[in-house]
Point group: C3
Chain length 481, copies 3
């Protein structure tokens, strides 16, 4: 470890500093232009790219609602034993694992390779063709219900080691101040020959001429080589890696048609700790029982930073009403990396006919992905106009702009969703219920504001005892429309 | 209090975190476009909306100088016993109370209702039609000279409990990073049927076609219902509040023509502490004298955060020159909430013919509202061109862009103003006077820079002893022009 | 000092607060528009303004690559005994001293004049025509290899006191959130009659009509007076400085044709400590030897803040490979003011045929200025297309956008450069070498991603032992192209 400790120290401090001093800064949509949010739709992905071992579906990022919210959405399905090739993006990402389990390697610059095979034959030998021992950075497991945070410019790969497809929904925060390019989501692949995920989807959208030409050039370029090495001279690559040019050309993956999700041949092998305590005991065997610390002190600060949090488990609920449902939130208080990337999330479940009480997002846009079931949702703008009044179904995405009022009601046995929020401490203000703005107002102010009797004002304030979720106990009040 | 303490804790921590980690981030006007500030004008409001108990006047936010500064300005006049209906905005606001006194309720999500009527009849009963006891969040008093800070998305109402109209000037920071929508100021009303305050004013401005259409739709929609409840189904509202639909429809205020400032019938009654110590003693009577703390620890951190500071009282002056005038500033050092909303303010008074010495705003735009009297003002851009040279009169607004040089001289008995600054620690660099940039430069550098004699250089540096304000003692040097 | 200590305290605290709470916030290029970075060029300055004692060369700020990176570049050459007139800018600046030495005065508002001539004749007398003693703010020395940070709106002057021309390259961060105007670089001069440095250069560029007109007006205005005082009434100036109008008119410098860099007559005299310990001892003579502290406590916090760091000295290298070269970085960890202005820099040297290993900038754009020699550089975008593949020669500027991959190889005896980065903790992720992303990935993932054998995967990971710089030991792999 001592080999590179000084540069490590420097980089770790840099990263640590980033975490400590980041801002809430976020770009507005278009200065001087308008977010024309008179009509919002629940939409499904409109582009689909098939790979060898999975599919990538994207929502057209030039949809008005995504432009206004400053996000781009992707859903990836990785088949069992599929490997999502290593890549990084110009935007911070928040990933929700809808289904499945696997491993992900997230590579931080300058962090040590702390997962290493033990040295059975004395001195370590990593010369050309040397020992078969490997070492690499920490690999993390993930499972259904996990939120995973990936900072801008940080490369990562993913592998499905389970028996069912992994389904992951990713939000790219294109308006983040951490993205210093324009507001197009860009994926930089280190390997393979992947198609641009957002490429075709943009053709239908409102493209500036420049965009249009650029897209054409990309396609028309008929370049059969799309990863980062393709643009480098193979002799440069050979020199940089100290390898011969034939191997260098393999990095450019010219005739690789597998796409960005490839099938692993055999089993993917790498150094990893056992998943469970039991396995660990077996593995450690007679060697003393406790894992040896890999640490030089640095991994405990930045390099081993926690990047995921499970918000799918019912036991982790932050708000729970037995008849109505539950809500689980993750923000920079329980997952500190979110302070860096300025995003947070909420996972919710509503039971039959229960209601998420009307509220507005104080300081964030909210991008709802429907995981299961369907709900009726109403969204209201500043003029009191309904900009959405309809169904939100499994697999659809709906954007609720900052400050717009929203109410959801379950229309099936069970409605489940995850909301991505463009603030690391997204706040919600309820309109009805025990912690609502209405409850905070003196009854006489309410009576004068709405010209209701003092007794009606009190009913408005105190009839609803729940805070966020309410089951529809009295059928008489339900919608007929 | 314990009922909702866990969600309160969560929310309070969120808010507290916002305060601790906010940034200086602010949007530039239009990337790639220009702020054509060759000509700045002192302007008066160009739109006026009459309500039942007051008027709202707005300055057209598409004026070049407001677009560049990223602000929108509103002046509200609330007649005695008038109530400004509860609303929130997509921008942070800074309000200066030009005249009058009253109460304001500012509702923070999740904060407890700490103003509560005492329970005279044993257990609290807030079921439908139950006891007439009320409880609500803290209500704050305000008076002439107060600066009040309202974060984006936080709802508030206002009531005039004095004998003269309340006049309040509000700056909306539309370019704030806390506004994630576009740069239009938007007010979301919870009650009543208010007109869009910025609606008509924009018709004269440079509107994009999209804007124009949107405005038309708003008006043409002929919707007689504009508050947040109008866009929700009345059955949903009934269910959410657990009330019957007839009361739900009252929330939508369909036939309410009172506008956004309504007249309270009788006296507005709510729980409030006495205004003065004397009153308090009378009220507390034999009950021991000292107020009982309402606290559970949380209100002392976020929920009871100080949101106002009086900068009108002469005794609060930060800079004072008996013959010339005084300046009082409020920034995030003396009102910490300003660190969150990234604005600050300066209140100034100049006596007859006194001068605010030439200076530039280092890190902020400055929006001057003339409270009383008139002044001659000159503003200079980076090319040495005068972009404003004229009178600034009571009720007018003048924008001084960041870094532009500005000088003011009183042209009446007394000139009073308030400057809103787009930075929570706005800094000023004087060009003349004891703490000026000129004084900081070695005399020989001055002599060479301006080709003046060493003795003239010393006069430039040391002749003016005052720091910011100077009375014109020697009439000989006054302007003839 | 006590005279102005309260206002000083206030201002210093403000400035201190700025340092503590600043953000990473930075504007994207153009929301909704695109950075068309399909082709990047190495470019030379395209505008040149001759002054009496120096020249100012600028790169057209409307070049696509500068617009995208949000910067403007200037190179100033100051002849011996030349004085750059005091000015400030609407953007933070980072200056690299390519050659020469001199003094600079950087004037912070409200900071005391701590360089003062001693009072030989009892009481200090600074009335008109009084004693010849002078006092001014701290003056700093600079020399080749220094990085100097100037915050937005802070005025400064520069003097060449050496025997060779001072050559200084400055990057203006026009996209900084600290610039609240548009993204044009603007210099506000306090003296002289300087031409607009960016004026003519913009004529060739893609100007909006508004820009074009504005530029014309500037020129056509045929104003022979360009400094800040020109836009003020001379009677106002006279009153502000308490001087007569004839001296006031001298401040407007109407017939001054010397430009912004003027020749000092004789020697520039000001209070300054000796440069070396030896000189100090001589000067102090019998007076005790140790310098007396000038402090009142304030200069030790903000007013005496360190604003420069030498990154030219080889001994200060952060990365050093004897056969290949060295890299020295300066960021907010070793120069805290950079946290305020959100920029950092890297100084590099490559020896003959050595290579800066391929890498990407994780969180910053990088603007490379070639100081000496030439290199072959390749830059790759997210589609694997080469957007630059060519020579970078002494005096040219090349922009590497965030996340784009880049590799440099020295093509002369020695290639030296300085890179300005748009983040105060710019991070780099290597693609090859010991701390690279490739090394962080398990070998089996590499094998599957690139369809190479396990043994080839290990060669990719472990063949290159260096971290950032590599000499080309084996000639066989070099480029033929």
């Amino acid at each position: 470890m001592a080999r590179s400790s000084s540069s490590l120290l420097c980089l770790s401090l840099c990263l640590f500093a980033l975490l400590s001093h980041t801002s809430q800064g976020r770009q507005q949509w278009q200065q001087g232009n308008e977010c024309q949010l008179d009509r919002i739709n629940a939409i499904e992905p409109d582009n689909r790219v098939q790979s060898e071992a999975g599919t990538i579906e994207t929502w057209n990022p030039s949809h008005q609602q995504f432009q206004c919210a400053g996000v781009a959405i992707v859903r990836r399905t990785i088949e069992p034993n599929g490997l999502l090739l290593p890549s990084y993006s110009n935007t911070p990402q928040l990933i929700y694992i809808v289904q499945g389990r696997g491993h992900t390697g997230i590579m931080f610059p300058g962090c040590p390779e702390t997962f290493e095979e033990s040295q059975q034959s004395g001195q370590q030998q990593f010369q050309e063709g040397g020992s078969s021992q490997d070492q690499h950075q920490k690999v993390r497991t993930f499972r259904e219900g996990d939120i995973i945070a990936i900072p801008a410019g940080v490369a990562h790969w993913c592998h499905n080691d389970g028996n069912e497809p992994v389904i992951a929904v990713t939000v790219h925060d294109t308006s983040s101040h951490l993205n210093q390019l324009d507001n197009n989501p860009r994926n930089f692949y280190l390997a393979g020959n992947p198609q641009d995920e957002f490429q075709e989807s943009q053709q239908g959208g409102r493209l500036s001429r420049g965009q249009d030409e650029r897209r054409k050039r990309r396609q028309g370029g008929s370049t059969s080589c799309n990863n980062l090495f393709c643009g480098l001279d193979s002799s440069f690559i050979a020199e940089a890696f100290n390898i011969d040019e034939s191997l260098a050309r393999k990095l450019q993956g010219e005739n690789d048609n597998r796409g960005s999700i490839v099938r692993v041949e055999g089993q993917l092998e790498f150094v990893q700790p056992p998943r469970r305590i039991q396995e660990e005991r077996q593995q450690q065997g007679g060697r003393g029982g406790r894992f040896q610390p890999l640490a030089n002190g640095l991994e405990e600060t930045f390099c081993s930073m926690r990047l995921k949090e499970n918000i799918g488990d019912p036991s982790r609920a932050d708000i729970f009403t037995p008849e109505a449902g539950r809500i689980t939130t993750v923000n920079s208080h329980n997952l500190p990396v979110l302070r860096w990337i300025q995003l947070s999330a909420e996972r919710g479940v509503l039971y039959n006919e229960a209601m998420r009480l009307p509220h507005w997002n104080l300081n964030a846009n909210s991008i709802i992905y429907a995981i299961r079931g369907q709900a009726r949702v109403q969204i209201v703008n500043e003029n009191g106009n309904s900009v959405f009044d309809g169904e939100l179904r499994e697999g659809q995405v709906l954007t609720v702009p900052q400050n717009f009022a929203v109410v959801k009601r379950c229309e099936s046995d069970r409605f489940e969703w995850v909301s991505f929020k463009t603030n690391d401490n997204a706040m919600v203000n309820s309109i009805a219920g025990r912690t609502s703005a209405i409850r905070a107002i003196p009854a006489d102010v309410l009576a004068n504001a709405w010209r209701v009797s003092p007794e009606e004002a009190r009913r408005l304030k105190f009839n609803r005892q729940e805070t966020h979720l309410a089951s529809s106990r009295s059928q008489s009040f339900r919608a007929v429309a």
